[in-house]
């Protein structure tokens, strides 16, 4: 069976779903179910008694077969991310942590230095570290060397829907990487998810494309099917490209009549 392996964990689904920006938790839960995702991201937030309905822990517990991957969003330094990871593990009981350190809210680009440092510390502590990074092949290799479970380079800016703008660098990362490469951020359409899988990504992480869709559960299902299609395609072996036409039918028969 073709399973996604992250540390000692295996998953039959290669679609990871984020839980942000949904209109309410019922829609979010429907989308998670429709996506078939087994790994789901959540964020840490201060408890607010006036907004206790935002607490996702109870609703997510109603889903079977889900592993939580908390993120460290809100951290702007490695120390803050490490602290957030410890708190998140306490709550989730999950060894997964998405290291996400983006100090500038204008572009949300990940800080490579703080991300590397936090990832190094957390991998040493036994976390399954999934760092969100720019599509930087050198950084990706360094994160592999310090024991990350995967690398998660961005396709384009978070929530931008600009798709696989970094595909040239993603190709290098995929070619060089000895750990799963998961495209995280920027996807808008299922065809982009299929393309990422055809490029050789081990999985894709999607949030805004589903949460901001007209019908989030239907879009979640569409992404799930696209990820499966892309994965099947690369395993089947894509044909070689040619610079010129290569006939699929005989060209000589009619001329001999």
């Amino acid at each position: 069976m073709d399973l996604l392996q992250l540390g000692s964990y295996t998953f039959s689904s290669r679609l990871i779903l984020g839980t942000g920006k949904f209109s309410n938790s019922t829609v979010m839960l429907d989308a998670v179910r429709a996506s078939g995702a087994q790994l789901v991201t959540v964020a840490l937030r201060r408890f607010n008694r006036e907004q206790s309905e935002d607490d996702l822990f109870g609703p997510l517990l109603t889903l079977e077969g889900i592993t939580l991957m908390p993120n460290t969003s809100g951290a702007s330094t490695a120390a803050e991310a490490v602290r957030a990871a410890h708190i998140a593990r306490e709550l989730s009981g999950s060894p997964f942590i998405k290291v996400e350190i983006h100090p500038n809210p204008q572009h949300l680009m990940p800080d490579p230095i703080e991300t590397f440092e936090a990832s190094r510390i957390l991998a040493k502590e036994g976390f399954l570290v999934m760092p969100y990074i720019a599509a930087d092949p050198v950084l990706a290799k360094r994160l592999e060397e310090v024991g990350c479970a995967s690398v998660m380079p961005l396709g384009s800016a978070i929530g931008s829907g600009q798709g696989l703008a970094t595909s040239e660098m993603l190709n290098i990362i995929i070619r060089e990487s000895g750990i799963p490469v998961i495209v995280d951020a920027g996807l808008r359409s299922p065809s982009e998810a299929a393309h990422a899988m055809e490029m050789g990504c081990a999985a894709v992480l999607v949030n805004s494309a589903v949460a901001a869709a007209g019908n989030p559960p239907a879009m979640a299902e569409a992404f799930a099917e696209a990820v499966v299609a892309g994965r099947k395609a690369i395993r089947a072996g894509l044909m070689e490209k040619s610079g010129s036409a290569v006939a699929t039918s005989p060209l000589t028969f009619l001329g001999t009549l």
Partner: protein, 67 residues
């Protein structure tokens, strides 16, 4: 009475209040919350015994939607 900092806001509590008392005051059973007092995580089994002190910085954190 003592005053603590709860999620960045001042909060007054009866003296000798525990973390469990604080959770009752804010209306949570605490099952879905992480409690951090002065940057130290207070596990659920320790909450009823952990007394809060004047000036403690308390964070109550939960999981919310995020990508």
């Amino acid at each position: 009475m003592i005053t603590i900092e709860l999620n960045g806001q001042q909060q007054t509590l009866p003296a000798d209040s525990t973390v469990s008392d604080l959770l009752s005051i804010v209306g949570s059973d605490g099952k879905s919350l992480a409690v951090v007092v002065n940057e130290q995580i207070i596990r659920p089994e320790k909450r009823s015994a952990h007394k809060l002190q004047e000036g403690d910085r308390v964070e109550l954190l939960m999981f919310a939607g995020g990508g």
